[in-house]
Amino acid sequence: MSEVNGVPEPGLQLPERVEKGDLLLSVQNLRTHFRVRDGIVRAVDGVSYAIERGKTLGLVGESGCGKSVSALSVMRLIRAPGDIVGGEVMWQDRNLRDLSDREMRRVRGDEISMIFQEPMTALNPVFNTGNQIGEVLREHRDFTRKQRYERTIEVLRLVGIPQPEQRVKAYPHELSGGMRQRVMIAMALACEPQLLLADEPTTALDVTIQAQILELIREIRARTGMALLLITHDLGVIAEMADDVAVMYTGEVVEYADVKSLFAAPKHPYTRGLMTSIPSLMTDRTERLSTIRGSVPHMMRLPEGCLFQSRCPEAMNICRDNRPQLQRLDDGRTVRCHLYPQRPSGHDGEPLPQARATAGAVN
């Protein structure tokens, strides 16, 4: 895994500890672009992250930062006008990008599963619960009808659905939001995947139901040793669930660290802004909330230089013209910011020649 298309070794973009771990999934310099009428939206542009066996990686960021697109790219669920234009998705010893559609279908839903934010739109309204879970098993397992039914009941019970023998006949509209999310998790778990990609799994739910679902995911994780990629904008959920966290902004990872270091001392001004601007139960009620000024730049009008410069309280001259690269700090974590002078030795700080080289050449 040395140089791919002139891009430096991807390992250098990962925190030290993650790089040395027993990696289940390793996303390397992933680039997923959408060709639209007015140009190219670089939704994911040179993103690298990795998940160790049995661990949880949290992907944090606001809408449009590319966190969901990166997960959909792992599953190869990107449709036109989108396209994965670069990078590798290493799953154990295979590059998922090299698999045929047929081989990919065997991985999807069996070795890697995904759950989505809105369970109503992710479930098929004309099939009942049993059919939808049965479909996954039909695809991946040589089960008899009876075995399929038994496994369906078993996973429904696993996700805490009361009276699974009855609920197996229920259609999505007959279930509450929390129950639908449980059904979707049951579908995802039917084949005992090694990795679950969870895209905002609790955002559409009420807090008491969110607490139930998070507890459920935690329990299943402990029982099965499944790894988890948890995508959310809620830092509270991240703090409770994740081992490592990658913070994304406009298609790039801006900071990547283990959860404790990240919350103890966020390095990137964006991460800091996120952490201080959200009111928590500890916030001083008499003080004004600190804010991140402005809003996320338009994905087709990204600035030269640092993508966060217009909102950054610490922007310097260098940030205007020079796009910062991800670099590893002394404690092993990585951050993309000019505040941290690049280390002289090694090629950690060398620019990625490809990343954004064509940023100005839209159209």
Binding site: S176, D206, V207, E240, L289
Partner: protein, 361 residues
């Protein structure tokens, strides 16, 4: 010991701007070929509270608890099924709609759905002025520009259309629209929950600034307890159409008494990975509001429910210092002056067991 009382007195004193008294709102459920009424959604039942001049009163609860219905009924977007609403001491049902609209306005949750895409931003903001026949067109334009600058949207953009703005900017436009008539009272219905996290704090700060500048009184409706805690002076917690607890914000967050309030607070994920805590997770889901449970409405999910909770509806009782709780066993949870910092171990075990059996059942 606690005495029985209503959270809202009958006599409306001067410092109360909005007084809601025994407000009930049922929506008919129609079915069958003839669309006969086959039941009612009990969206709000006997809800009472007072909002003082200049304060921010929070209404918090999960989806379907009736908080939005209460807000909209106060504004007479819906007529109440029964109960009274007083604004500045006057019964709003007897006030002219135009007078109401000049004094009470609303900010909606969804900044995308709540702005007409075919009208310019200036037109949206100025519509109220036009309807109320305020000023000449030039004066109206001045007022539109002034309010745009106040909420932080450059007045150069008055001729642009809503789709040209981001979510946060649209919410500012919605706020400008609500404020252009200079109302005294604003219902903020989930004003930040549809916004990106980095934008939420901007809008919360703006609402706080505007309150100071215009002496506004807010009814702040939200499901996010951290936001409510930051913004509100007093908070009422709703469950299935009823207020279950009401108190000053610091009191509520340091001494929540109702088992539902406590569970709600426990359910919030804490953004601190070093904190490992045993959380209290309530089992089950919200029962149907068309057929709320007999007795206490929380009894289907409450770990400490007694026989009485299944038979008698608990009244909202006064625990002193403006703290009201509707729970038969509330005394067991009142921590003031006692050495009961947390749930007792037994109680905690009982609750955890209940959760387990419900989730594996």
């Amino acid at each position: 010991m606690a005495t029985e009382a209503s959270a809202s007195g009958n006599g409306v004193s001067d410092d109360v701007l909005v007084s809601v008294q025994n407000l009930t709102k049922h929506f008919p459920v129609r079915g069958g070929i003839l669309l006969r009424t086959i039941g009612h959604v009990h969206a709000a039942d006997e809800v009472s509270f007072d909002i003082k001049r200049g304060e921010t009163f929070g209404l918090v609860g999960e989806s379907g608890c009736g908080k939005t219905t209460v807000g909209r009924t106060i504004l007479r977007i819906y007529p109440p099924t029964s109960g009274e609403i007083y604004f500045g001491g006057e019964d709003v049902s007897k006030l002219d709609r135009k007078v109401l609209a000049r004094n009470m306005q609303i900010i909606f949750q969804d900044p995308y759905g709540s702005l007409d895409p075919r009208i310019t931003v200036g037109g949206i903001i100025g519509e109220g002025l036009e309807v109320h026949g305020i000023g000449t067109p030039e004066e109206r334009n001045d007022q539109i520009r002034e309010i745009m600058d106040i909420v932080g949207i450059s007045s150069h953009y008055a001729q642009r259309y809503p789709h040209e703005f981001s979510g946060g900017q649209r919410q500012r436009i919605g706020i400008a629209r609500a404020l252009v008539l200079r109302p005294q009272f604003l219902v903020c219905d989930e004003p930040v929950s549809a916004l990106d996290v980095s934008i939420q704090s901007q809008i919360l700060n703006l609402l706080r600034d505007l309150q100071g500048e215009f002496g506004l009184t807010y009814l702040f409706i939200a499901h996010n307890l951290a936001v409510v805690r930051y913004v509100c002076d007093r908070v009422a917690v709703m469950y299935l159409g009823k207020i279950v607890e009401q108190a000053d914000t610091p009191e509520l967050f340091s001494n929540a008494i109702h088992p539902y309030t406590r569970a709600l607070m426990d359910a919030i994920p804490v953004p601190d990975p070093s904190e490992q805590r045993e959380r209290l997770i309530i089992p089950g889901e919200l029962p149907s509001p068309t057929n709320p449970p007999q007795g206490c409405r929380f009894n289907t999910r409450c770990a400490v429910a007694q026989d009485v909770c299944f038979n008698e509806e608990p009244p909202l009782r006064d625990f002193g210092d403006g703290h009201f709780v509707a729970c038969h066993v509330a005394e067991d949870f009142d921590r003031r002056g006692t050495a009961l910092p947390q749930l007792s171990g037994e109680m905690h075990e009982a609750i955890t067991d209940a959760v387990r059996s419900s989730s594996t059942e």
